[in-house]
Assembly symmetry: C2
Homo-oligomer: 297 residues x 2
């Protein structure tokens, strides 16, 4: 069976009725399963996780974008998180029996339909990007909704599908294929944000640290701690344990210990099983030694 995951982000995190109405597009559809949804009021943003057969999932995603177009007006939206659209980013991730190329093609069909049907500009990003400057989502999103009309006057930002100017209330959307991502935070026993930032700089790829590791230092004010918040964009290259140990070692150099860690969103089993194999020093580990892997292969 072909199985693709989609983790669309919507710019509504306060009115949970609206979030539910969007999530409903993934409910009760043959071949589609709503796995999770969460909303964050500070960020005024919600994240839906769904998986399913490629075409059925694509149809549900297009429907959800239409629902977001009806329900969300970015002209009246505020929130900390950078965003360009009512549906802001729509990543598709190949899970099982489907290649990255097929998933790129799926993202293209979805982008085409969103552009044609709803009159929304669509940027293909990450593995689906047709221009090198669009691979990185941060570049696509730079300037946000407020800067979008101006940004799109530059021919370099002509969208891949849809009109050459923002949809008035929706904005634009980034659609693409990416790998499974591990969002993983390590909390440190200090309230000194400088420590978290210094550790983040040491471990992230951008500053010469671990490949496929993005990291930021953040405050956890309520707990009086700081956090190194990481996105591991290819855990087969930089594993969760390697990132954890790097944070632990860099923090130790500054005299700070690890308080704990957090998984964000749904986590791929393989990334955690790999950690068990490392710490238990398993000599004969292979993913197919796991009972469930055989059951559902």
């Amino acid at each position: 069976m072909k199985l693709v995951e989609c983790v669309p982000n919507f710019s509504e995190g306060r009115d949970l009725k609206k979030v539910e109405q969007i999530a409903d597009c993934f409910r009760g559809k043959k071949g589609v399963k709503l796995l999770d949804w969460s909303a964050d009021a500070d960020h005024n943003r919600s994240v839906i996780t769904a998986a399913g057969e490629p075409e059925a999932l694509a149809a549900a995603v297009v429907e959800a974008v239409g629902r977001a177009r009806e329900l969300i007006d970015l002209r009246r939206h505020s929130g900390q998180h950078p965003r360009i659209g009512a549906a802001d980013v729509i990543p598709f991730i190949p899970l099982r029996g489907v290649t990255e190329a097929e998933t790129v093609a799926l993202s293209e069909r979805v982008g085409q339909e969103i552009g044609d049907r709803y009159g929304i500009p669509v940027y293909l990003y990450e593995q689906s990007a047709r221009h090198p400057g669009r691979r990185n989502l941060a570049d696509v999103r730079r300037g946000g909704f407020e800067g979008l009309a101006r940004k799109m006057q530059d021919p370099a930002w002509k969208p891949d599908f849809g009109p050459d100017r923002p949809h008035p209330s929706f904005g634009a959307v980034a659609v693409g294929c990416r790998k499974l991502l591990c969002a993983f935070n390590v909390n440190l026993n200090t309230d000194d944000l400088g420590v978290a930032r210094a550790v983040a700089r040491k471990v992230r790829e951008r500053d010469g640290g671990l490949p496929f590791c993005k990291a930021l230092g953040l405050e956890l004010k309520e707990r009086g701690l700081v956090q190194v918040s990481m996105n591991l964009t290819d855990f087969t290259q930089t594993s969760v344990w390697a990132a954890f140990e790097a944070v632990k070692a860099e923090a130790a150099k500054l005299g700070v210990t690890v308080a704990g860690s957090e998984l964000i969103g749904l986590f791929p089993a393989a990334a955690l099983l790999d950690c068990a194999a490392h710490y238990l020093q398993i000599e004969n580990y292979a993913p197919d030694r796991v009972l469930e892997a055989r059951l559902f292969e």
Copy 2:
């Protein structure tokens, strides 16, 4: 969907054609999946792992016992491993959507049919045991095939199903419901068997160690190492990481380090995910944070 696992052990590990013929009973059957099989020439023993819908799996197991009766003659069998039957032990394990009580009942139906159809004495063991003295498989198997005729003269060893004397070539078989078991070995950097035995004594339940932990010290002659070979019979009570760390700590007291560890057979994902959560100090771990758990729930 109801899903039960069965891990029957057969007393043939040298003639792989015979093992294949037995494994064939689990192939191409609707509702049954052959997950794994392995054979060990020293032990002259093979282990099949299959899973499926209860009734379909039960039918395949009964067929495999019949095949073993045709192919294996214990009067001409030698091997290190204790055994009483051509099919020696048939554990059923509830995996999904099925209770332990239902699985006990399934083991009883299978035992009844093996007794009636093939004239083989059957002992219900572990959670299916109807006598306290039959819970522990080692007690049922004590004396082996060679001592079986004499043992069965004792009314205390009247079988639960089948005739009151051993089948001449097959012997007898233990059938029962048990929990998922983790078979996990830790290799130590020494060739001193005394070290492995001393560590095994320290960690196993029988001698006051970890609950639900069975352990033996063994030699790995080819590698010049020794091994603590463990069965964790309830990993929710004694986790794999706790057993690993206990072996490591006890070995360290004797000045010996861990060389590595090995998973035996198919390993339940939950037991390994739990280890990742421990070593990564994950504060918000729960099995349903794993993507695959949501996909197949």
